[in-house]
């Protein structure tokens, strides 16, 4: 009898892709658009504050800004790019800060939506990265040289090259930005979905379901939601780091001499 008592309550609908299609706030402007603008403002203001009144003995803000810059400069750019790394540090620092802020939006209360869980946003960013390393490569080696590095395997007979060059062309030139963006998108999408499942599931167990047992056990769902929020914070930082590290690595690859 207790089993049939749950029948009147509506069944739990698992969160899905439709939860990511938010209605426009005004006109065609949606929440992710506003988040992108907000992220831009946050990054610009934070760095403006950090670099204002630069002193030899840094203030707290300047110290944080310099530490952030130092991470990108020393452990990303210098390791990945090599001798010409300095001119890419501003781009990579800005990229890292922008991606990081957008990722962290996923767990910041009220905002709570990672911008990159919409694939079009990382596509645009990866397109920017693609243009950057293509231009860098063409400038360094010329168009022919860049294509030779990317699609011309050394020391193989011509008939093998007929097979290998299409693979390298597709993989290096066309699919590389796609994988770069899908990695970021997949992580943000899955993470947000995971949090939705625990929080909305807990809410359903507590408020909608008729079964007393479900109400009793609902705190566990919220606790798991909190645990995974912490886990998400970790993933969001790591993914921002990986995105920038791979960007630097691609730049380093196109800058490298023939190998």
């Amino acid at each position: 009898m207790t089993m049939t008592a749950t029948a009147p309550a509506p069944g739990f609908e698992a969160p899905g892709v439709e939860d990511f299609n938010l209605p426009p706030v005004f006109g065609t402007v949606t929440k992710p658009v506003l988040e992108l603008v907000l992220a831009l403002i946050i990054v610009v203001v934070l760095f403006a504050v950090a670099t204002r009144r630069m002193q030899l003995v840094p203030s707290k803000g300047q110290f944080l800004g310099e530490s952030f810059h130092g991470i990108v400069r020393n452990s990303i750019a210098r390791d990945m790019i090599g001798p010409e790394f300095l001119k890419f540090v501003p781009f990579l620092t800005g990229l890292f800060a922008f991606v990081l802020v957008n990722n962290l939006f996923g767990i910041i209360p009220i905002i709570q939506f990672p911008t990159f869980s919409h694939p079009s946003v990382p596509y645009a960013l990866a397109g920017l990265v693609w243009i950057t390393y293509t231009v860098v490569g063409v400038r360094k080696h010329g168009f022919g040289g860049y294509m030779r590095i990317s699609t011309w395997p050394p020391d193989v007979p011509w008939w093998v090259r007929i097979i290998l060059t299409p693979i390298e062309f597709l993989s290096n030139i066309i699919l590389r930005p796609v994988t770069l963006s899908l990695r970021l998108f997949g992580n943000m999408f899955a993470g947000h979905l995971l949090l939705l499942v625990f929080i909305l599931g807990g809410e359903y167990m507590l408020f909608v379901a008729d079964d007393v047992a479900l109400k009793v056990f609902s705190p566990f769902a919220f606790v798991m939601g909190l645990v995974f929020t912490g886990f998400e914070a970790f993933v969001q930082v790591i993914q921002a780091y990986i995105f920038v590290m791979l960007t630097a690595s691609y730049i380093g690859t196109v800058l490298a001499d023939d190998h």
């Binding site: 390791d79 990945m80 020391d155 193989v156 693979i167 993989s171 590389r176 791979l246 490298a256």
Partner: protein
């Protein structure tokens, strides 16, 4: 070739490292090559099968693609 190989196997890693550090992107690139080769030649084989109403070219294409990808990774990252 004969002169270079012992140098690389011997004490050259440090020297080589100073010229070009190994890139983490190469790991992703190798994976990307592998999948691209399998999918590209699998798709070509599937197209041949569908176009001429044949069987077997899809599987053959997948295998050729896998072999070609592995060879490409060998040429790019092991041999040189």
């Amino acid at each position: 070739m004969e002169q270079e190989q012992p140098r690389e196997v011997g004490g050259a890693p440090d020297e080589k490292k100073s010229v070009r550090t190994p890139q983490p992107a190469e790991a992703w690139t190798a994976l990307s090559h592998l999948l691209t080769g399998i999918l590209l030649f699998g798709a070509i084989g599937w197209g041949v099968d569908a176009l001429f109403d044949l069987r077997g070219f899809t599987a053959g294409g997948l295998l050729v693609g896998a072999a070609a990808s592995l060879y490409l990774i060998y040429v790019r990252y092991v041999k040189s």
